[in-house]
């Protein structure tokens, strides 16, 4: 078998690595298949999902409902749980044989373990944690026109370019960079969860999606790591990404951490079913667990309402929340950068302002 990542003309099709946990597909699969469909249409190629696991054939069809033309299923008992060794071996073997032009992987804790290992083995580039993808250059230019401060009219672009243009935040979200991988294939990208829009599910499409079972070769010598056990933490799962209302707290709660978090919870309840998030300072100080973190190193959210309490608004935090539909900020410091992206700003002590807000919201609801 000859595999040469530099022979770029022998590579075809858009591929998505579909992750499963406990035999269930994860949300990023649907987001990536939906996005992959768009890219495959721009390129005029097929969209293929690759699913690794054990006894997972039955869940594959659902991916077709979001636009996959074909799902390759690699089934083996050693693939039931994720291990770097087994997954990298199987994924790389199939990629070397089938030569996809593009390979997208969700930037989950698993995807970010698997992606770089495979890219190094395949001798190709990988772009981490992308938030926007284009193949068609005209679409990319349209994207720049609305999402950058560049003067597009004075620039020229290679309109025939068919490289995948992978855009991601850099330096804590202060700069955006579009990366290409022109000399090697596949073009690999891990994609940030919660950013790509999931398309409508179509039962019709799911029915016509082709499912291909693939023989897997794995031997004991391939496996140098062993999962001793998996522990699900009993903590309440926070679904920041899907939330409509998020009330986040920052360093401003330091004088009464517990009280500050309580107030945020009460305000989130007053708005109706909101969840509590936190800035990096709050997570680093151990005031809230890390799955509450909003920002460049945490989660990217776009709720209907985002309330920032005592958050200064470091670039790294803004990167994760500035696309919220409506932003309310409360901060003692009137020069706090958070006010630059807030729709409504209140200068004041959150411990005084928030109780008033809760009361006023409740009053309007009772009226």
């Amino acid at each position: 078998m000859s595999f040469n990542s530099a022979d770029i003309n022998s590579f075809r099709d858009i591929w998505v690595f579909c992750e499963q946990r406990d035999g269930k597909l994860v949300n990023t699969d649907f987001e990536l298949i939906s996005e992959g469909r768009k890219l495959a249409d721009e390129r005029g190629s097929k969209l293929v999902g690759i699913l690794l696991g054990h006894e997972v054939k039955d869940i594959a069809k659902e991916l077709g409902g979001y636009g996959a033309d074909k799902i390759i299923v690699c089934d083996h008992p050693e693939l039931r749980l994720y291990t770097t060794d087994a997954y990298a071996k199987v994924l790389c073997d199939v990629v070397m044989e089938e030569k996809p032009e593009v390979l997208l992987i969700g930037a989950t804790n698993i995807g970010r373990d698997l992606g770089p290992r495979c890219a190094a083995r395949l001798r190709t580039g990988l772009t981490a944690d992308c938030t926007h993808l284009d193949i068609d250059t005209k679409k990319y230019v349209d994207f720049l026109a609305t999402s950058s401060t560049l003067d597009i009219s004075s620039m020229s672009f290679p309109m025939e370019d068919t490289n995948l243009k992978m855009t991601r935040p850099a330096f804590g979200g202060h700069l955006m960079a579009t990366i290409i991988c022109p000399r090697f294939r596949p073009c690999m990208s891990t994609v940030r969860p919660g950013v790509m829009k999931k398309s409508e599910f179509s039962q019709e499409k799911a029915e016509v999606c082709q499912i291909v079972m693939r023989h897997v070769e794995l031997s004991a010598a391939d496996l140098k790591t062993k999962v001793v056990n998996v522990v699900k933490e009993a903590k309440k799962m926070v679904d920041l990404i899907g939330a409509d209302i998020i009330v986040s707290v920052g360093r401003g709660i330091s004088k009464d951490v517990e009280g500050g978090i309580k107030l945020a919870e009460k305000l989130a309840d007053a708005f109706g079913n909101g969840v509590v998030g936190g800035s990096r300072a709050v997570i680093d100080s151990g005031w809230l667990p890390s799955d509450h973190q909003v920002g460049q190193t945490g989660k990217t959210v776009h709720p209907k309402v985002y309330v920032a309490l005592g958050i200064s608004g470091a670039i790294q935090h803004k990167a994760g929340m500035q696309d919220s539909e409506l932003i309310i900020a409360v901060n003692k410091d009137e020069t706090a950068p958070i006010f630059d992206c807030a729709d409504y700003g209140i200068t004041g002590d959150l411990f005084k302002v928030v109780p008033l807000m809760i009361e006023a919201i409740k009053e309007t609801q009772n009226a």
């Binding site: 804790n109 330096f171 990366i179 290409i180 991988c181 140098k224 790591t225 209907k304 200068t347």
Partner: protein, 267 residues
């Protein structure tokens, strides 16, 4: 047993970030710090040193001033350090960087009981790619997102975090582990003795000449020109227009806010 700890000096992006008129980052205006996740890797390595007396070697790739950071890590308790530095290595992406670091560790020697610790990701690039790519080049197993590491003989037990829990993973040395911050890991400070002695401990500099003939390096895929990935464009996102600062007493501000939210049918 020797533990290599791979570290990176990064601009502190947690505060205000200064940008040059051309859109690039004004690094000179920002403090250089040891990457936060790398601090966890250093602490985990030094803990194992406390328990077993193993050798801890700090490794970085960067410009010559990164020596200062390596001396700091020696003052925290590391035995020695290696600075990989050459103009030819500048502008390397993660693929290129990992080849160079893997080649350096290969040259220094990776024994049967040895381990490599990295921070999960650096706050300037946030890629989390270099660790796993070093492991692949050296053909050793990896465990990422680690918060706990225990070693007995060649067997290493690692607590690996997932979004909704964790896995306990058993792995054979030599191996590479990437570490994350956790409230159970409190990076130690430099000691007074450490500061006094840090300039007398060995610090080796590996330049282009020293590494160019290493079997793990492909000279056509390193540096700015050789890196598989290139920057197509970089840009700053448009600032969202400044909104309305509400005025008056706390009560007036809150009433004004709630009134506006009602008109927008938010509540």
């Amino acid at each position: 047993m020797r533990i290599y700890v791979c570290v990176k000096q990064v601009p502190d992006t947690s505060g205000k970030v200064a940008v040059n008129p051309d859109g690039t980052l004004n690094r000179a205006s920002m403090a250089a710090i040891i990457n936060p996740d790398d601090m966890s890797a250093i602490e985990q390595a030094l803990k194992l040193k406390d328990a077993t007396g193993c050798q801890v070697t700090a490794v970085t790739m960067g410009p010559p001033p990164a020596e200062g950071m390596l001396r700091e890590i020696i003052a925290m308790g590391a035995d020695d350090a290696v600075l990989i530095s050459a103009r030819e290595f500048g502008g390397s992406d993660t693929f290129a960087t990992s080849q160079i670091i893997a080649a350096a560790i290969h040259k220094l020697g990776l024994g049967k009981e040895d381990m490599i610790f990295c921070g999960r990701q650096a706050i300037d690039g946030d890629t989390a790619q270099v660790g796993p790519q070093i492991a692949e080049k050296l053909n050793i197993p990896q465990v990422t997102y680690a918060t706990g590491i225990k070693k007995s003989e060649n067997l290493v037990l690692v607590k690996r975090m997932l979004e909704d829990g964790y896995m306990m993973i058993e792995v054979q040395a030599p191996c590479l582990i990437t570490c994350i911050k956790d409230k159970t890991i409190k990076p130690r400070y430099m000691t007074l003795n450490g500061i006094m002695e840090c300039y007398s401990k060995p610090l080796e500099v590996l330049n282009y000449e020293a590494l160019k003939d290493e079997p793990l390096i492909e000279l056509d895929t390193i540096g700015l020109k050789g890196s598989p990935t290139n920057i197509f464009k970089s840009f700053t996102p448009p600032q969202k227009g400044v909104g309305i600062m509400l005025q008056g007493t706390d009560k007036e501000k809150v009433d004004d806010l709630v009134d506006r939210l009602q008109k927008k049918h938010v509540i």
